[in-house]
């Protein structure tokens, strides 16, 4: 105890030196606190965002693998090999349902989507002055149909259950009039967008006629049972010259059974080798819930026999990772900053301590001469720096805690602005207006959330293409409550370690 008492006395009596060391450690503690808070915010944002999310998974063709298998030793792709690999690559409903039996899967839903043309008095909604009622040829880059098929004015999607209609589940779309069709119905009913209804002066109870884009004489009549409003329709319009078919207003929703009936009827009219029939793209979505289950699902599907030419992915996780990109970048930067500040701080403290110890040689000599053991003198010097460090950590940590949230948010905002600028510059290079498109709309989420994405999005026929129906990723733009017990312990630990390293200089000098 007399060592601590003497250490305290020495600190008080040598105010100048103590204050100087204290200021240095306070600055280090403050910077380390902010750095740790940023990293903690990133980690806890990710944890809470992912735990709040209901993670879904999709199985799709591993296009990269297919392309690498189709490439020759010189690196060029063999189109015939690639076509052969891609042929019959879509999984059937039976196969998709098989994988839904994995224990990691909480529920499973599926959709069937097809491309149809307007028929009769029906016109596709369009805001473009040079709209085409149908686009032709397989070279159309907006086409989502397999190569060789014609794309139509509308996308008609059949849902297996209400759960599958994620835009309605998350509130993006809401029925404005009428009602949603019954789950599992095979009646020829549908719901259309309010924009399309207004454009064609349609209301609930009216009928619309759609046609096979490859054969206009093949038509199907659907009764409008409901009209929905898409709250993101204006922001989800495609960039540049919007194609009618990809405009959210031109999306028609019906039941899976209804659309299956249409595609089966269409297929029955032509030979099996013909590509004239309306073809549907089947997408399955497995609701796994958590990231852990998602990882488990990936293992389980291969145990259930999924071929290696397929891959399991999650648009939710991918979407989250996009929204968290600025925060992750900031976290990485904070990590490097932490290392630099600790290194520089250690060097400064060590150098200061070397000079301080030299200055106190007389004192060390006297203490030794009057019988104080070297080990006790070393303890005395170490105690002095530890006491100063503890006080400085408390002060620096307090200031750091208060400043961490505004500093983190300011840096995050700067990161987002940087990302936006980069994105805008890129769009300007392509001569596109970036209003509302892509991951450039920061939302002011006070509790570090989240991204919006549609649930069923990957096409099993066309590989890993992300055919989000108007998905918008919002960057995580603010954090809160970044200081917790772990941060405080890490702060204390790192500053104490610094103090020990600096103190060891004195100890070594004294013991020598």
């Amino acid at each position: 105890m007399f060592i601590l008492k003497n250490a305290m006395r020495n600190i008080v009596r040598a105010k100048g030196r103590s204050i100087l060391i204290g200021i240095i450690i306070t600055i280090i503690a403050l910077s380390v606190c902010i750095g740790l808070c940023i990293r903690q915010s990133a980690a806890s944002s990710k944890e809470s965002a992912l735990s709040d999310m209901t993670i879904t998974a999709q199985i799709s063709m591993d296009r990269d693998k297919a392309m690498s298998k189709s490439s020759s030793s010189s690196g060029s792709i063999s189109k015939s090999k690639l076509k052969s690999a891609m042929k019959n690559s879509s999984l059937s409903l039976t196969q998709l349902k098989k994988y839904a039996k994995a224990s990691a899967v909480k529920s499973f839903y599926y959709t069937l989507s097809a491309s149809v043309d307007a028929s009769g008095s029906l016109e596709a909604y369009s805001t473009s002055s040079s709209s085409n009622s149908s686009s032709t040829s397989s070279s159309n880059s907006d086409s989502k149909a397999p190569s060789g098929m014609t794309t139509g004015d509308f996308t008609i999607t059949g849902y297996s259950s209400d759960e599958a209609m994620t835009d309605f589940v998350d509130g993006t779309c809401k029925i404005k009039s009428g009602k949603m069709f019954d789950e599992g119905t095979s009646a020829m009913v549908c719901v259309i967008s309010s924009d399309l209804a207004k454009y064609n002066d349609l209301s609930v109870g009216d009928y619309i006629k759609v046609a096979n884009p490859n054969k206009s004489s093949e038509t199907y009549k659907l009764k409008i049972v409901g009209i929905y409003k898409n709250s993101q329709s204006s922001t989800q319009a495609n960039m540049g010259d919007p194609g009618q078919q990809t405009d959210p207003a031109n999306e028609i929703y019906t039941s899976y059974n209804t659309l299956k009936k249409i595609t089966d009827t269409s297929a029955s009219k032509y030979s099996s080798s013909s590509t004239t029939a309306i073809s549907g793209n089947l997408n399955g979505t497995y609701v796994v819930g958590t990231v852990a289950n998602y990882k488990k699902f990936k293992t389980q599907v291969s145990d259930l026999g999924l071929s290696s030419k397929y891959t399991v992915s999650s648009t939710d996780i991918e979407s989250y990772e996009r929204s968290a990109e600025p925060l992750e970048n900031l976290s990485k930067f904070a990590g490097y900053f932490l290392i630099v500040i600790l290194l520089v701080g250690a060097i400064i403290l060590v150098v200061m301590n070397i000079f301080s110890t030299r200055e106190r040689k007389y004192e060390i000599g006297v203490l030794s001469a009057i019988g104080m053991k070297k080990s006790k003198i070393a303890k005395l010097f170490m105690s002095e720096i530890m006491i100063i460090a503890l006080v400085a950590v408390v002060i620096g940590g307090t200031i750091g805690t208060v400043a961490s949230v505004p500093v983190t948010n300011a840096l995050l905002s700067s990161q987002i602005t940087q990302s936006q600028t980069k994105s805008n510059d890129m769009q300007q290079s392509f001569g596109r207006d970036n209003n509302g498109a892509g991951p450039s709309q920061p939302s002011d989420n006070s509790s570090s959330s989240s991204s919006n994405s549609s649930g069923s999005s990957s096409s099993s026929a066309s590989g890993n293409s992300d055919s989000n129906k108007g998905a918008v990723s919002n960057y995580i733009s603010s954090v809160s409550n970044s200081v917790n017990i772990i941060v405080l312990l890490e702060l204390l630990g790192s500053c104490i370690l610094l103090a020990i390293i600096a103190g060891m200089v004195s100890v070594i000098s004294i013991m020598r």
């Binding site: 007399f2 020495n10 009596r13 000599g365 006297v366 001469a369 009057i370 019988g371 053991k373 006790k376």
Partner: protein
């Protein structure tokens, strides 16, 4: 009674032999003055006796015990009190704190409990014995005169009750009057049974000693002869 015995003591700084076969006995209740030319090894002898440096050869017996068998820090904080020419006080502390620290170190080395109140009382008492009142005791040493600082050094050396007091030129930086005052204290210590060994150039101090040791020749002469 013999308190300190030097047997065939040798010390060299590298190749330079400074002490060569010193043999002497010191008794309590006496003042010994070690004199000699500069470079004769007076301070070196004191350093060896106080345990600050180890002899290259020979043995030192303190109260019959070989010094080598004791922990040197315990030896320095129990058996020997050292007074330096430059006082060697801790300048950031007060006079009382310097004395207290010495007692605390001694008790700590002995693994004894440190009673703060008792130590404070003793410190004031010892400082009073050497002629410093309470007000002077509570002053920082830098605010004391040379003579007062030397008194503090003496008090510190006495704080844990050693049998042997070693003083290296204790009056070297002091005026005549203060010199006399300090020597009066030394005489009192000897009268109280301490063995006081003083290294000095001063003829006055040497004159106060009971035995005078000329280091070069190790000739002994007593004042009382």
């Amino acid at each position: 009674m013999e308190v300190l015995k030097l047997e065939n003591l040798c010390f060299s700084y590298g190749s330079k032999q400074v002490l060569n076969g010193v043999n002497y006995s010191f008794e309590n209740g006496k003042i010994y003055a070690i004199v000699g030319k500069s470079g004769a090894g007076k301070t070196t002898l004191l350093s060896v006796i106080s345990g600050l440096v180890e002899p290259t050869e020979g043995t030192i017996y303190c109260n019959g015990e070989d010094m080598k068998s004791q922990d040197k820090y315990e030896y320095r904080s129990k058996n020997i009190g050292v007074i330096f020419q430059d006082f060697n006080l801790l300048t950031k502390l007060t006079a009382k704190e310097n004395v207290e620290l010495s007692m605390e170190i001694s008790k700590s080395n002995d693994k004894q409990k440190i009673d703060k109140g008792e130590i404070e009382r003793k410190a004031y008492g010892i400082l009073d014995q050497v002629g410093l009142d309470r007000d002077e005791a509570d002053r920082r040493v830098l605010k004391l005169s040379g003579g007062q600082q030397q008194r503090v050094a003496i008090a510190r050396a006495l704080s844990y009750g050693p049998d042997i007091i070693l003083a290296d030129e204790p009056t070297g930086n002091l005026d005549e009057e203060t010199q006399e005052e300090i020597m009066d204290i030394m005489k009192k210590l000897a009268a109280n049974g301490k063995c006081v060994i003083i290294v000095t150039h001063s003829s006055y101090v040497a004159g106060c000693a009971d035995e005078r040791i000329e280091l070069k020749t190790m000739k002994k002469s007593t004042k009382k002869q």
